[in-house]
Symmetry: C2
Subunit: 124 residues, 2 copies
DNA sequence: ACTATAATTGAATAGGTACTCATGTATTGC
DNA sequence: GCAATACATGAGTACCTATTCAATTATAGT
């Protein structure tokens, strides 16, 4: 866009504005509030180091709670809490076998996004 | 740091049920701690609704602080704080023209991940 | 110089969150 | 039945964070 400041004063944030056409374009392309809210919740699953490591581990193969706790060197309770978070967010699924509960990623799509995030930080 | 007692006890099922081969596989595939930490920080930028909406808007074209504040119906200060976060995370860049500061995404890569997250929640 | 505007910034605060601890539930084996 | 194991869960807590508010900086116009 042009860098020329258009001081075409219209009603805005408080009193003055701004680049009306640019804002209108951005507004028209902005998804609904429920979509952006759900999307930020989705990314929140990856935004914690513990959860991201859990997801990375499950990208290899299914693991039980105790496996993950041992792998990450954390308490079983802490892992269980995070797994509940991930399950409610529909990123992981579980199956029960005897006393053991095995967790796995819901779909490969999650693995793709995970890998892209890791690739991004490895480049930059 | 003796103030916070760290429970080293991962003795839960350590002897019995851990699936050693599965854990070893996951461990070998796990990136270094600094990588997973950086990756979770990267995803953290997308994990807040306000930041995600800012990124979505900037995916269209560059905008000044006031534009974004008007678009999202939030205070200019709140937006400025989040833009600083995004800039430090190297997701956005800025250029100054007169009194106005224009923000834009650092690269198209960010837009791709953003779009994938939005697509994910629109499907499910 | 003075005024107005765009943006930044620090402090304060309310709400969120990730862990620990203790307890509860389900399953297995004796 | 009882004990042990694997996991889940609620409460408590310390930390984190997203916003508001007030003050400040920078630029432009008069």
């Amino acid at each position: 866009m042009s860098a020329t400041p258009r001081t075409e004063a219209v009603e805005c944030c408080e009193e003055h504005v701004v680049h009306t056409a640019a804002v209108d374009l951005a507004r028209s392309a902005m998804p609904d509030e429920e979509i952006t809210s759900a999307a930020s919740d989705f990314f929140k699953a990856f935004s914690d180091k513990t959860r991201l490591r859990i997801l990375t581990a499950l990208a290899q193969e299914e693991l039980c709670v105790c496996d993950i706790a041992a792998l990450l060197g954390m308490s079983q309770s802490a892992i269980s809490h995070q797994l509940r978070f991930l399950k409610q967010a529909r990123l992981v699924k579980s199956r029960k076998s005897g006393k053991t509960v095995y967790y796995a990623l819901c779909d490969d799509h999650i693995q793709v996004i995970l890998a892209q995030g890791i690739a991004h930080v490895q480049e930059g």
